[in-house]
Symmetry: C2
Subunit: 348 residues, 2 copies
């Protein structure tokens, strides 16, 4: 695609600063782990697959300046970086997966000189990016089979280019369908509070020349009731072994509305979003964010009485019973999920 | 209550300019029908019952300066005012009911001198206000029986003091429960696009010392799933003979979510919101509003690409099957609605 969310160039992580969209397309370079932590926290970079890559590359930022040559000291530094990155945001599985992957490859090479391990870590971070690019294209290829010419898809938040390296999961399905010559119409829920649907999805869908209509999140039921939605496709931040899927707050709403209206509801995510150690939604930690995300719009204009009491969970969990299928890089998983997720990823 | 949304004083309609809330409580005086039309259009005054009173008083503004003394000329002027007010917003039944009521009382007195008919019309406008104050208190009294001490109510938009003369329908139920010594907790959906929940309901609930927590509309499913909502109460803009209820966009979403979670869902409205000529939702006209309500926040800060295609219906219709009961000034109506609505209002 013509947009790249994360890259590693000239010894720096280069990201699109998504807080500046849709007004300006600004790339920033990150050299210090603290700046990456902050960028994740305030969501300059966001989206589960993108966070996996950011975490992987961030691990390199955390150790690249280590002066010693001993594994013990190096591994302490590595663990410190791991804990630090892990403290940025709790819900997206990929962030932890990126960290763990780097820790594992380092441990597997602990007999190598530290300088070599550093190179291996950087190359692992880059590999995560490469793999994501391939994964998203596989998700797109599997998912696009669900779309016919003139299908209308409803989506929420941004599970597109900007949530991955360069292609997207939910929106990747749409991009692939377009590549296959299908005309797809998209309804993008604006996605309060941080408006990723309005700011990011609408922006990138325009750039890719997809027919997109922006709606308030509140309009979803009416649209479905009016017969204007063929299917819902969302991304995911963490998927439990039974298929329960955490994603942006409001996703669960759409799943219930889709069920009521008998509209298929799909979740799209790469294997790295699955957390098979967690049995079901009870094990998924939901990030709670600042009240100011609700009491103001993008921290600018107040829209509620000052000091309003606010509840601001960033995610909800859609129970697997409401999900028609999980579009993954290994194929579309159908119910029964516990059995079929295990089969596709663990081969048993 | 200590707040009065609409009044008639010194030959002027005095309203709270709700576009200025929650920042400033500003009263404005309206002397010209054109200014009232504009105030309704841009929602300085809104809420179905308040619009009924505004329309009734507006009819007086439309005829008070008529110079002639002939019924024919006067009635032409009256009809012109009626058509003009009716063109402001299409969905709330009360607006048309207020207009029709004034037209009827004028026609019934057409043999009187024009000066006398003018007085009768003004007095009809004031009567609508008085009746609304009484109606809301009856709705409150019937509805509060549904609430126990420590009940938690979810609501959307503003069906409170600011949607009526001085008490509210959905929020009136909560005020009454409080007067009865019950402690009620309220979750207020912020209600995109125009944020009446964040700007108006949160503001007036604070003023009335009610425990209110503001949420993004997207948080409703999670809250219900977490067992934090005992019942949903909303207002209505127009209710068909079969109970199908138009209300602020997003209400239908809440009704579906409540059904899924087995949470009672109530609609509260005075008789003047019922439109018994309309059989079901197919007959309810839904107002479509400007894209800028979605692409910017309160017309200030852009949040989506310029010229985004937008769909912005101001209302949706909740099918009667999803409604546990209609809390009216004549009692709580239960299913079967077609039969019971007819019985309570028409006595047959």
């Amino acid at each position: 695609m013509n947009i790249r969310t994360i890259d590693y160039k000239n010894n720096k992580i280069r990201i699109i600063d998504q807080t500046k969209l849709p007004h300006k397309l600004v790339y920033i370079n990150i050299e210090r782990l603290e700046d990456l932590w902050q960028a994740i926290k305030i969501m300059r970079v966001r989206g589960a697959p993108a966070l996996g890559a950011a975490a992987g590359l961030g691990m390199y930022l955390g150790i690249k300046d280590y002066r010693g040559s001993d594994w013990l000291g190096f591994s302490r530094r590595l663990n410190k970086a791991a804990k630090y990155i892990a403290s940025s945001r709790p819900t997206a599985r990929n962030l932890f997966w990126g960290i763990e992957r780097v820790c594992l490859v380092a441990a597997n090479n602990k007999k190598q000189p530290v300088a070599k391990i550093k190179k291996i870590i950087l190359s692992e971070g880059k590999k995560i990016m490469q793999e994501d690019m391939a994964s998203c294209r596989k998700i797109g290829a599997y998912g696009s089979k669900l779309l016919k010419d003139n299908s209308t898809v409803l989506t929420i938040c941004n599970a597109g280019i900007l949530a991955t390296i360069d292609y997207g999961t939910a929106l990747g399905v749409i991009y692939r369908a377009k590549e296959e010559g299908k005309k797809i119409k998209v309804f993008s829920c604006e996605t309060r509070p941080l408006l990723q649907g309005a700011r990011l999805s609408t922006w990138e869908l325009y750039k890719q020349d997809i027919d997109v209509t922006l709606i308030a999140d509140n309009t979803a039921a009416k649209l479905m009731g009016d017969g204007q939605v063929d299917l819902v496709i969302t991304g995911a931040d963490r998927i439990a072994a039974n298929g329960d899927s955490a994603n942006k707050i409001g996703t669960f709403n759409l799943a219930v509305l889709a069920k009521y209206h008998k509209i298929p509801f799909y979740v799209s995510a790469p294997q790295s979003t699955f957390d098979l150690i967690i049995k079901d939604k009870a094990g998924i930690k939901i990030e709670m964010r600042k009240p100011e995300e609700i009491t103001s719009i993008l921290f600018k204009k107040d829209i509620a009485p000052k000091k309003s009491r606010v509840l601001n969970p960033a995610f909800d969990v859609t129970p697997h019973q409401l999900i028609s299928g999980l579009i993954t890089d290994k194929g579309i998983i159908r119910p029964p999920y516990f059995k079929n997720i295990s089969k596709i990823f663990l081969g048993k």
